[in-house]
Amino acid sequence: MAIKNYILVCGGTGCESSKSGEIFENLRKEVTAQGLDQDVQVVKTGCFGFCEQGPIVKILPEDAFYVQVKPSDTQWIVAEHIIKGRPVTELLYDAAKDKGRVRIKDVQFYQKQYRIVLRNCGIIDPRKIEEYIGRDGYSALEKVLFTMKPDDVIEELKKSGLRGRGGAGFPTWQKWSFSKVVDDPVKYVICNADEGDPGAYMDRSVLEGDPHSVLEAMTIAGYTVGAHQGFIYIRAEYPLAISNLEKAISDSREMGLLGKDILGSGFDFDIEIRLGAGAFVCGEETALMASIEGERGMPRPRPPFPAVKGLWGQPTVINNVETYANIPIIMLKGGDWYGSIGTATSKGTKVFALTGKINNSGLIEVPMGTTLREIIFDIGGGIRNNKKFKAAQTGGPSGGVITSDYLDTPIDYESLGKLGSIMGSGGLIVMDEDDCMVDIAKFYLGFTVDESCGKCAPCRIGGKQMLDLIEKIAKGQGENEDIDKLQRIGHAMKRASLCGLGQSAPNPVVSTLKYFADEYKEHIDQKKCRAGKCKDLLSFSIIPEKCVGCTLCARVCPVNAITGEKRLPHLINSEICIKCGECYTSCKFSAILRS
């Protein structure tokens, strides 16, 4: 009997944490209980990207897009949608509901997206190799092994213009050809899945939702450069991604898509997983390889580059997850096709993890050259609570901020570099008027200082000194020459640090200094933090004329710093006050003054 409905349940980590596993089980039970298991197939897929509204359940062929589904809703969904054939309006995504539409096409979140890397996420069950194969999986490998020479693969990559998605944007074809030309019988292929930027989860979602695309691409890389062993270096904090990868690797081995004599072509290739302990510096390629070798994860000077002398001193191709996920489709559709998407210097698409003060947080994929305005306002749905956009941060702790003046810049590697930020791995954090730029700089710098491996002095000492200066400014003890000092140390770190971590660590400070110098000035000269984030510069008091004595503030105060009789104006004891702001947010009469 033919299947009439498909129920796709998101099994990404985001939805899983809000009980999508239980929803999946309930739906399966309910479908069986109704005797519909021959007509309806329930599938657990990878991330749909619309994490803001998870858990997500999508029903085909109607393409009904249900959001924030609860395990208890499942009976209802089956009874209404599957049996009676009418959508459960209450659970449909709001924007679509208003227009009386149910289809995912009508959700603006998806309209401007172009999914290449995420092509299978949310469609296939990542734990079933057959479904990946059904989506043209492993046909790129077939094409490469039987009809293309290694040089053809590199030529195709060159035409595609694909550049490394880990952040630096080095042309992939060049990396591969550097390794290929070295005459050595032992070479390696590595997938860098040590995703560490705060707020970034693109690689995790690809590995969770479409692990085979990475395995296929790594095998193609192995064939091209002449390697027979691959490693995926992934952090142990990604249990679902690891489990899906392990399943994918063992299925591929069983079916002969990994191992000896792949598909009878005579080519051998195998992949192993190596777990990282979650050190940010291990995302740096030389530190990552040291970690695989069992050494302490510390970078070493380059050159020699890994492509020539990498893992255990052998030529090694190392690429990021997203870069690999692009490769099978480039091989299938051709480099020219891929090269037709994007801007002059940056081809293809880029996945971004949208987070921060934005309405639709989630995972999106757009063609290169899309403007920040389109990403934040059209796809992201604008700023939460109708606040004003202040800046967007790209590239995590190695990147910088982009202000509203530059919202219409088409995003590519070069344009972001010009603005003093970087593409980075794809984290995009949106900030509104309540965010203090000194505080943001302090956060990122604090992160890199924590994560610095300490091998080279510029990063180890420079980072700490910069952080001390920023903390001083945030406490209201800053002096004018501190800004100059910050810039000088930042410059030295950029020039002299051993690896990308130290070289880019000053970026958040330098870029906020460039665009928000007035905020730093305010902190130094007027001891004022306009966003109210720097606690040491704040004081809370009660305006007696406005206070009605409702006692709410006294009740919410965690340290009992507020006293007063009922119906009489209250008082805050500033010596006890810890400036948590609870009273400020809870007062219904705007009687609390934050200054």
Partner: protein, 129 residues
């Protein structure tokens, strides 16, 4: 699972492709909507639905979405089926049994001709929206 040869892989891909393709709705422009209210089901809409899916599968037509809906209010002529195809008028067919369903695929979907004897109405505008 044993190790596959190239032929095995190709065979498996073809087999699975049909199934997985149905989940991807992008690029599918034609819709066949079968009325599956109580009246429709009583008149045999389930068989009609199966006939559509089967016939489309047989002919390897993949750009058609087959959907179910509730009662279209045209109970006298059940099973009713609504067909949307770009370049063709939106049509409601009535009294569609499995044979007629296969005929609709053949004429309306493939040859762009209406199955005249079963055209009952253009859908009223509120349904179209």
């Amino acid at each position: 699972m044993a190790k596959m040869t190239l032929e095995d892989l190709r065979k498996l891909r073809e087999e699975k492709k049909k199934e997985v393709e149905k989940r991807d709705v992008s690029g599918k422009s034609i819709e066949i909507i079968v009325g599956m209210g109580t009246c429709g089901i009583a008149a045999g809409a389930k068989l009609t639905l199966e006939a559509f899916i089967d016939e489309l599968d047989k002919r390897n037509i993949s750009n058609v979405i087959v959907k179910q809906t509730g009662c279209m209010g045209f109970c006298a002529n059940e099973p009713t089926v609504e067909v949307h195809k770009p370049g063709m008028p939106d049509i409601v067919y009535g009294r569609v049994d499995d044979k007629i369903a296969r005929k609709i695929v053949d004429r309306h979907i493939v040859q762009d001709r209406l199955v005249n004897e079963h055209v009952f109405d253009k859908p009223s505008t509120d349904i179209v929206k």
